[in-house]
Amino acid sequence: MQEIRTRYPGYDILKEEDHWDEHTREIVLKRLGPFPEHKFLKHHEAQMIFTIAQHIVYDHRKEILDYVLHHMDNTLSSPVGEDQRKTGTPEQKVLIREGLKAIDKLAKKQYGPPFLEISIEQQLSILTALHKGLAPPMKEWQTIPQKALFKKLATTMVSAYYSHPTVWSEIGYGGPAYPRGYVRVERGLTDPWEAKRDANES
């Protein structure tokens, strides 16, 4: 899975942190850990989230996935609302907690062992089925809509993953840009500190 992860091997956004405003720097650097103990997720739930996140964001690196996990825990333990929720879908805390139980049950039903012990292909096939809302019938799906469960898991994970500075470096994103801003914004132009491609790459 760790093929060419970046077109910008020489770029490290954290080298620019001195140019960021203090408030932004504090927010971004906290994503590097260490993270406090989970407030909502239980041990087994955290392990499942960690494994599912590997598949959703297509990455194995513990330091990044730990942040994804931390963000998930933060989201689920926060009193802040969830913007929108489809009628008939339970609150996110219930959706995720009961949803993870249902995923384990589905794994056992289809393959024997619980989710964490089945093969990667089997895990992916369960996630694909949930995404499409086509998992084998179980009474749980009446209260835990499959697609809503998948979407909540995936968007929360992806939001955290693409907020991690290591990932920003890899995709060549300029990241925080205040107070400096950009001077050269037109086609083909870059400011000296922006990500530059490997000269050998076409």
């Binding site: 077109r7 927010i27 995936a154 060549g172 107070p179 950009y182 914004v185």
Partner: protein, 541 residues
């Protein structure tokens, strides 16, 4: 959580020379001339115009009084807090994304995290029934709003091209157009040029040169996260501080839960909650500027024996005909980097497809904005709206810098089945959560298909390879529409409620149709016109 959040030092009561973190020293605690609920685009303009005219004005705002320097960050994830995050229930065949997608919370409302693209509506937008036989005409015309468009543009120094080729206003704008434009905007303009489609630099509520003590834009691209340098207009930094200078009082972190009617059937004032405690604000005139979900929710939640179906609702139209804009994002991949993160997100636009063209098989039209994107926003849309995840998502994101984007702002026709109603679920204030129901109609879907194809043609002409489309929406309008007929509309041509003479409803909620472009200049022009009407009415007394 960051430690240095300030919310203007966590105060909730603000008036000239005073800021308090409690409500014991309220300036207009015994009553005001005018109470405005919501301090967004409309509420800000109303507060400014009415306090300047000498009225005693109190503004009540559910969210914080932000301090851009300490509360805003150059970061997508943390700045989702600028949005109305309270859970809304959504339904329909095309359920709407809420939160950051369309709703602001806090002083400045949606203008704090809006993109600043600033259009006037066209003449045809006010007459769609007459011209196209759909929806309804507005009770006002373009000419009624024209002086207010002009005033708003001057007041906040809108920047834009010398010549704007579409609609009745052809420029020039008060401030020069932005220069240089971003690579994404260049790509868009090149594609348009090759196809003979006219395009221009975007008209923006963003400074191209210093104005009113504020600096020009530094192109950092975080307009949707709140502008730290204050180059982008918001009512938080423009109208509200000026209103305070003219004597207005702003109560922040105060959620209005009820509009109270007296025995004579007039509004007496509003009940609001701060820190778990209930307060009352008395006023001679109440104006609801709480946008398109909270306004109908408040009116419906204020039902009382005199008005059992909710206030201002004798027509049954409160909460009906909610509109959005179809906002599909169309992407193409290029051989060279475009870098969507750089520069003001929208710097080039086209309204070539704005007006009805019978040959297209649908009525009304749309605007194209060449639109920047940041990693979280893009990846989240890919997973939640286009259903792309895992390796496929990763592959696209690795080439993030090589993508260009065009965003559609498509007119959506009003439909009585698109509604805001009350659910049985209660929120932290004990108010029923709203249910927001939305489905596209046939005309809307044909318009989208046309626009997606055109956008792909433009990107292809510019040398790109169409790669993916994320279905999206932008903006909200309607739910308390204007009209001349009290049996089919909620407010009259001055945004005054047909049923209750001292109740006004003035925000995007008053729109009759959505238009095919970003709506906020029209929201603000409408507010300035309503303020003039209130000032004129007062002179008659």
């Amino acid at each position: 959580m960051p430690t240095n959040h300030d919310y203007v030092l966590h105060n909730c009561d603000h008036y000239d020379g005073h800021r308090y973190n409690h409500l014991d020293k309220r300036k207009y605690g015994d009553g005001a001339d005018i109470c405005i609920v919501g301090s967004g685009a409309a509420g800000g303009v109303l507060a400014y115009e009415l306090s300047k005219a000498g009225f005693e004005v109190v503004v009540i705002e559910a969210g914080p009084f932000w301090n851009p320097q300490t509360d805003f960050a150059s970061d997508e994830l943390s700045m989702q807090s600028l949005a109305w995050n309270d859970t809304r229930l959504v339904a329909g065949s095309d359920p709407l994304g809420m939160g950051h997608n369309n709703s602001g919370r806090g002083v400045g409302g949606g203008t704090v995290h809006f993109t600043g693209v600033f259009y006037r509506f066209h003449e045809s937008d006010f007459r769609v029934k007459t011209l196209d036989g759909v929806a309804d005409d507005w009770p006002i015309t373009y000419q009624d709003l024209e002086p207010y468009y002009e005033k708003i543009e001057k007041d906040i120094a809108v920047s834009g091209p010398k010549h704007f080729p579409w609609g009745p206003f052809q420029g020039p704008y008060p401030y020069p157009e932005r220069e240089p434009i971003s690579a994404n905007a260049q790509v868009f303009r090149e594609g348009c040029e090759r196809l003979g489609i006219r395009s221009t630099v975007a008209p923006l509520a963003i400074l191209s040169a210093p104005f009113d003590g504020r600096p020009p834009c530094i192109n950092r691209g975080f307009c949707n996260q709140g502008c730290k340098p204050n180059a982008k207009f918001s009512t938080l930094i423009h109208h509200i501080p000026k209103a305070i200078g003219h004597g207005a009082e702003v109560l922040s972190d105060c959620m209005v839960t009820h509009v109270k009617v007296d025995k004579s059937g007039e509004v007496e004032g509003v009940t609001f909650v701060h820190d778990g405690k209930e307060y009352f604000q008395k006023a001679k005139i109440t104006i609801l500027s709480a946008f398109c979900i909270e306004t109908p929710r408040l009116l419906l939640n204020s039902a009382c024996p005199q008005f059992p179906d909710g206030l201002a609702n004798s027509s049954g139209m409160v909460g009906k005909e909610l509109m959005t804009h179809s906002g599909h994002d169309i992407f193409a991949k290029f051989h060279d980097e475009v870098r969507l993160y750089k520069g003001t997100p929208v710097l080039a636009v086209s309204q070539e497809f704005y007006e009805t063209d019978a040959s297209r098989g649908f009525v009304r039209g749309y605007t194209f904005n060449a639109h920047g994107a940041r990693p979280l926003g893009l990846a989240k849309n890919l997973v939640s709206k286009a259903g792309i995840w895992g390796q496929k998502l990763y592959d696209i994101m690795r080439d993030y810098n090589f993508h260009a984007q065009i965003t559609l702002v498509g007119e959506v026709l009003p439909d009585k089945n698109n509604t805001v109603t009350l659910s049985n679920e209660k929120d932290e204030y004990g108010m029923p959560r709203p249910v927001v129901t939305f489905s596209y109609g046939g005309n809307d879907n044909k318009l989208i298909a046309h626009a997606v194809q055109k956008a792909n043609e433009i990107l292809t002409a510019a040398g790109g390879q169409p790669s993916f489309v994320t279905p999206d929406t932008g903006h909200l309008m309607g739910t308390c529409r204007m009209g001349n007929d009290p049996s089919t509309s909620v407010v009259d041509h001055s945004c005054r409620s047909h049923d209750i003479p001292n109740l006004y409803i003035c925000s995007a909620a008053a729109f009759v149709t959505s238009g095919g472009c970003n709506p906020t200049e029209t929201v603000m022009a409408l507010a300035a016109r309503t303020a003039d009407h209130i000032i004129e009415e007062a002179k008659k007394l």
